[in-house]
């Protein structure tokens, strides 16, 4: 993607109109105001020993500088936005693309709780099977083989070789039973 042209043809009608950058400029100014308002409540009070602070530095100083930075830069972006020629690529998204992204994001969000409740291997197999089919793969045998083999391999690499934790059910249970038998 070519970089945005900040200098050329700054006076076009298109550029003079409010655009998504102007909106973001405004949003950052609003964020600055909100931050400055909540800073006193959102920073724990420093410990007072013998009626004096441990040092003279106010804990709110740096956060306040960041908040002021948002405000100043937000104003800069607002005014700059009229001369920036960038395209909001979200507006160019067609319905199938929005559906694909939404479904993928939803699957990702559900994958977390699913992994914790049914275990890494089962949740991953379900996710791989679903997404692969959704993306258009119709070789079900290959999908099934990969959906089982890869999560099982990953489970062993992470839990046995790297000694970390992944939600085990049902693999560990099955293996424990086999071992006991």
């Amino acid at each position: 993607m070519p970089p945005p042209d900040e200098t050329a043809d700054t006076g076009t009608e298109q550029a003079r109109r409010l655009n998504f950058n102007s909106v973001f400029g405004g949003l950052f100014v609003a964020l600055s105001a909100v931050l400055l308002l909540i800073i006193p409540d959102q920073i724990e009070k420093p410990l007072i020993i013998f009626a004096a602070n441990q040092n003279d530095l106010k804990p709110s100083l740096f956060p306040q500088l960041v908040a002021v930075g948002f405000g100043g830069l937000g104003i800069w972006l607002f005014f700059k936005s009229f001369s920036i020629r960038e395209r909001n690529e979200l507006r160019g998204l067609r319905l199938p693309a929005i559906v694909n992204i939404s479904v993928t994001l939803l699957a990702m969000l559900l994958y977390g709780p699913l992994m914790v409740s049914v275990g890494f291997v089962v949740a991953s197999a379900l996710l791989i099977g679903f997404l692969s089919t959704f993306f258009g793969n119709r070789n079900y045998l290959l999908t099934a083989a990969i959906a089982v083999a890869v999560p099982v391999t990953m489970f062993f690499v992470f839990t046995k070789l790297l000694a970390t934790y992944l939600p085990p059910f049902p693999i560990d249970t099955v293996l424990t039973r086999l071992y006991l038998l």
Partner: protein, 503 residues
Amino acid sequence: MWDSFIQGLELAMRWDTFAMMSVGLILGMFVGALPGFTTVMAMAILLPLSFFLDPLIGIPFLLGVYKGGIYGGSIPAILVSMPGTGAAVATTFDGPALTKKRKARKALEIALYSSVFGDLSSDIVTILFIGPIALIALMFGPPELMAILFLALIVISATSSGVFVKGLLMMCLGLFLGLVGQDPIGALSRFTFDIFAFRAGIPLLPMLIGVYALPEILIAVENKTVGVIRQNIRAREGGRLTFAEFRGCFRSICRSTMIGTGIGMIPGLGQVVAAFMGYAAAKNASKTPEEFGKGKLEGVAAAEAANNAVNGPTLVPLLTLGIPGDNITVILIGAFIAQGMRPGPQLMVEQGPLVFAILVAMVFANLLFLVIGYFAIPLFALVVTIRRSILLPLTVVFAFAGSYVTRSDPLDLVILALFGAFGYLAKKLSFDVTPMVMAFILGKELEYSFGQTMVLAQGNLLNYVFLERPITAVILVATPVLSFLLWRKSKRMRAEFAVDDVG
């Protein structure tokens, strides 16, 4: 420094270091050879693996992914005119034309040899430079460190893809996200919004994987990924590269190596710009410039030597000052921090042998790179045809598993998905996430050195900085000037070469 180097050399001689580096190289080449899968994405996803390995295994493993990934991008660029990574775009000028002339094998081999030469030479330069720069950095106190960190953040914002002010806003956002948790001076809780999990701050790993790996997946799924390259892959076609042909390209390889090495030390420019500059320089210097773009081996060699020569020098500002120069080194800094190695002036003093061991391992990685590349080129050529409808779900699983294992906290998975969505939106709205991630990583250190400077200044910061700390004053005064110059240079290069991002 010499003692540290010798100790580092001894430390690096481990079979497991070499073994994992080879695995990293193979994985890097594999991912690099997949069109649409970037090196940044591969490193973000494989980052958690390095956390649980010894530093001398984990970090060389990631460096292997880095080197392999940058080279791997040239394989589809040559064979099917689809750059596997951004760094390989310049390789598409001559690579596919060589394939059409039934010289694919020569093109792949010259890409390999020039990549190895560029990478190896720049790694040696890195080892030579890192000691003296570290010695200078050691003279810095908190005010100088504060000024350097501030300069680094502004420069990265200035050289990020997109508009300068948007880069600065993303930097502020990163600083704000870094405020969540505890303040680094008084350990006071802040911006936790009474959520207990936020008391430890926002975790780095889900953020890194979220903003660097998941948006690539979401962009790939905009159009369903059933498509697979059905073109016949002709990696074995044509004769092998002769020594005379290599010698014919040697001047261009050396020139590109110098260009890449210089670019690597400047934050924010990266492999893409280096590849284009190397290619343009080779074309300008050639007696037959009209042959460039029509299948000239020298074109492939120039681009590949330049983009690989960036790999080593990007570590100089990272290891000596703690400043990552681009999105790949941002991920590397995550690996260093996880290993208990805080990049910065003190690192060379506290863990000098380990740092040199990692650098020496990088040099050896190039030799492995040569061997693996030589034997595995036809195999990696087949990778180009793998169905993305299968690879993308596997990438999602790897990203989530990697995020989960570090803290075993389900909240990290939610944070990962949220940062993934955020990264996607940011990309679509032309906000570069790299200044945000850098500010998030460096913010605590900036705040800490700022606090120390304020205490040292006893309330009179300007007098203290300008009268008692001349180096700090020079850096602070130079910040807007340097930022402007680098912004202008970066903007001109990006416009000239129509590039957007690295990796």
